[in-house]
């Protein structure tokens, strides 16, 4: 039935419109948590003692990919760490 199909599409569109800002907000909260997590991982490099630093080194290859966006979000135009020269 084309009418039912159209109605279904309409409801789907409407639901997507409602969900759209919500998804953004959830992603923003998750990113804020991630940013804090990254700060904790880098804490040793920033001069804050971190007993787990040795283990977090294993995460280095993953962290380095996100490092550039992270320092930009934190309000630092250039990389604050001499060890990581992303820009």
């Amino acid at each position: 039935m084309p009418i039912t199909d159209n109605l279904k599409r309409l409801i789907k569109w409407y639901e997507a419109v409602l969900e759209h800002p919500h998804k953004t907000e959830i992603a923003r909260e998750l990113r804020a948590e991630d940013d804090l997590f990254l700060l904790m991982l880098y804490s040793e490099m920033l001069g804050i003692p971190n007993p787990a630093y040795y283990y977090t080194l294993e995460l280095y290859p993953y962290m380095i990919e996100e490092f550039h966006d992270w320092h930009l979000r934190m309000g630092m135009e250039k990389s604050p760490l001499s060890g990581i020269r992303c820009c």
Partner: protein, 596 residues
């Protein structure tokens, strides 16, 4: 077809009926979208389907997300539509329906559409940056401060006006209080259900809407559910608190309650209250538009208001153009276009659909708002009795809209008492969400000014919110209206319109400068800009210097001071515009990023 047949039979424009008027308005909107926006998109902006939009280039899954154009339009429209395109037109019909309809229809097609569309494209071509940042880049630090102060004045006016709107409706329609307050716990519940339990939001928000409207039906029927402060104090003539009359006291109490609410609401994370309220409000927007347009079709009402009102105490020219801001052109849309929508545009060619059609959506709301008021009264005399002066129209415009809307709803077999409660709940919900957003925005601006002028205390959330709330409460309580202390909030409406138009003026100026830099024809944006600025300045001179100044007939220092500040800003914008446009080598720092 019925509308067409009616138009063919008409001898004079005054014979027009409401359905035909709506049909003509919608037809012009359709023409505007089909032809004018196509012309602007192809010949002026030269949109390119292969352009890599910021949503793709800076994709981060949060702010920059390529989004389907239909979904983005839905989000854009629900963000810009609120109580303002209802209130402005409901006041402006004072000058007769023709000037209001013409300004809404032509303003939407030639000014608002181009403005919303233009700011969206400009932002897309400049890394998705907001109009504020672009003003900074173009005009420098001066531009940034100018922009911040205009937005600060705008949000302050919004806070005061909308607080007045809600308090006024709570006093006029006491049955709406319970459903409106029920919305708060329901929204918090939806927020938690969706955020913590990951439940889809459509069903809970529909349940919340059903509970609210259920409450509206009950409170319309049973008097004990109507929170009528004036009645509790013994009627309109009774004495209230602190030596004030009953109505003044009711205004005072509602404003305080609202300010406490808005303080809490605007300091909460958005997902807890603001966003779930928006889900419910999206349903309400659809319900409202549905009730009004279907009601119009079923009731087929006569237009009883005059086409033009010759016996007005204030001339329509130029005040009409600031009385209807949202619904004809609104600077606030530029903030949405360049703030969020531009970061999520999938293809550059979608900008026409999202930006231009978003403005048309608001025009459609403003049009039905006019029709609801001009079909309400039994005859011309009844209309003129209510709309007896500009001040009277400003005070009773919204109430007339609600009664007119409930009359249209009667065509859908909804009892008038229930319909008026539901419509006032819709308007209050829109106004409350606007109030929440606006206080939040004011808090951010105060914090930013704290950073700018090195006052660290202003950067603190609660300090900034306290300043925002106290300033707004003071502003709404000071003007004295016909119902005494606190009831004169509507006097601020023209100032709200002015601040909004100034913001639109800056945005149109930025788009013009960008077009000039590209060597394109910038008449499509500079003409609406000059028109807007001219009307705003003229209206300001009339009101501020001839009406409110200490030497004038009705001096009002508060309005005079605010008006004078806005007047100076308007002049500042015009001087800046002339400087930038006249100078040969000043191409600003606005970019047009190359296709990659």
């Amino acid at each position: 077809m019925r509308a067409l047949a009616h138009i063919m039979k008409m001898k004079e424009l005054e014979d027009l009926n409401a359905i035909a008027l709506a049909a003509i308005g919608l037809f012009i909107f359709a023409l505007g979208y089909r032809f004018y926006s196509k012309f602007v998109a192809e010949k002026i902006f030269r949109l390119d389907p292969n352009y890599v939009t910021p949503a793709h280039k800076y994709k981060d899954g949060v702010d920059f997300v390529p989004t389907n154009k239909f979904i983005l339009w839905g989000h854009h429209f629900t963000s810009v539509a609120g109580a303002a395109p209802i209130l402005g037109p409901a006041i402006a019909v004072y000058w007769g329906w023709l000037p209001a309809v013409l300004w809404v229809v032509l303003g939407t097609v030639f000014a608002a559409g181009v403005h919303d569309f233009g700011t969206l494209v400009l932002s897309v071509r400049n890394k998705g940056q907001s109009v504020g940042t672009l003003a900074h880049r173009l005009i420098g630090q001066r531009g940034k401060v100018l922009f911040l102060f205009i937005i600060l004045i705008l949000v302050l006016m919004v806070n005061a006006v909308f607080a007045w709107v809600i308090a006024n409706l709570f006093i006029s329609f006491p049955a709406s209080v319970v459903p409106v307050f029920i919305q708060i716990p329901l929204a918090v519940w939806i927020g938690f259900a969706v955020y913590k339990k990951n439940i889809k939001m459509l069903v809970p928000s529909l349940i919340a809407l059903a509970i609210m409207y259920g409450a509206a039906i009950f409170s319309s029927q049973y008097e004990f559910l109507q929170i009528d402060l004036v009645r509790y104090m013994g009627g309109e003539d009774a004495a209230g608190l602190f030596g004030l009359g009953a109505i003044s006291t009711a205004f005072f109490i509602w404003i305080i309650v609202l300010m406490v609410y808005v303080y809490i609401a605007s300091t909460l994370p958005v997902w807890k209250l603001l966003q779930p309220r928006d889900f419910i409000n999206s349903h309400q927007l659809i319900v409202g538009l549905g009730i009004l347009y279907l009601g119009l079709l079923f009731t087929n009402p006569e237009i009883t208001a005059p086409m033009t009102n010759p016996g007005t105490d204030v001339s329509w020219f130029p005040l009409l153009f600031i009385t209807i801001a949202c619904g004809a052109i609104s600077g606030f849309h530029g903030l949405v276009s360049s703030g969020t929508s531009s970061k999520q545009l999938d293809k550059e060619t979608d900008a026409r659909f999202v930006g231009y059609l978003g403005a048309i959506g608001e025009g459609v709301l403003a049009l039905i708002s006019i029709i609801a008021v001009i079909t309400l009264f039994p005859d011309r005399e009844a209309f003129l009795a209510t709309y007896s002066s500009f001040a009277a129209s400003s005070g009773s415009g919204l109430g007339s809209f609600i009664l007119g809307a409930s009359q249209l709803a009667s065509g859908l077999m909804i009892p008038a008492a229930v319909a008026s409660t539901i419509v006032s709940v819709i308007v209050v919900s829109f106004a409350a969400t606007t109030l929440d957003t606006s206080v939040r925005l004011m808090r951010y601006i105060i914090s930013e000014l704290g950073v700018e002028y090195k006052i660290p205390a202003l950067e603190k959330k609660h300090v900034a919110t306290t300043i925002a709330v106290v300033a707004s409460a003071a502003l709404v309580l000071i003007p004295e209206g016909p119902n005494g202390f606190g009831s004169g909030g509507f006097l601020l409406w023209p100032l709200f319109g002015t601040a909004n138009q100034l913001l639109a003026g800056i945005s149109l100026l930025l788009v013009s400068i960008w077009l000039r830099k590209l060597g394109r024809n910038y008449m499509i944006t500079i003409i609406p800009m000059i028109f807007l600025m001219f009307m705003t300045l003229w209206a300001m001179v009339q009101q501020v210097f001839l009406q409110w100044a200490w030497y004038a007939a009705a001096p009002n220092m508060l309005l005079f001071v605010f008006g004078a500040i806005i007047f100076v800003f308007a002049l500042w914008i015009i001087i800046t515009a002339i400087q930038v446009l006249v100078s040969k080598n000043n191409t600003g720092d606005l970019g047009d990023e190359k296709i990659e």
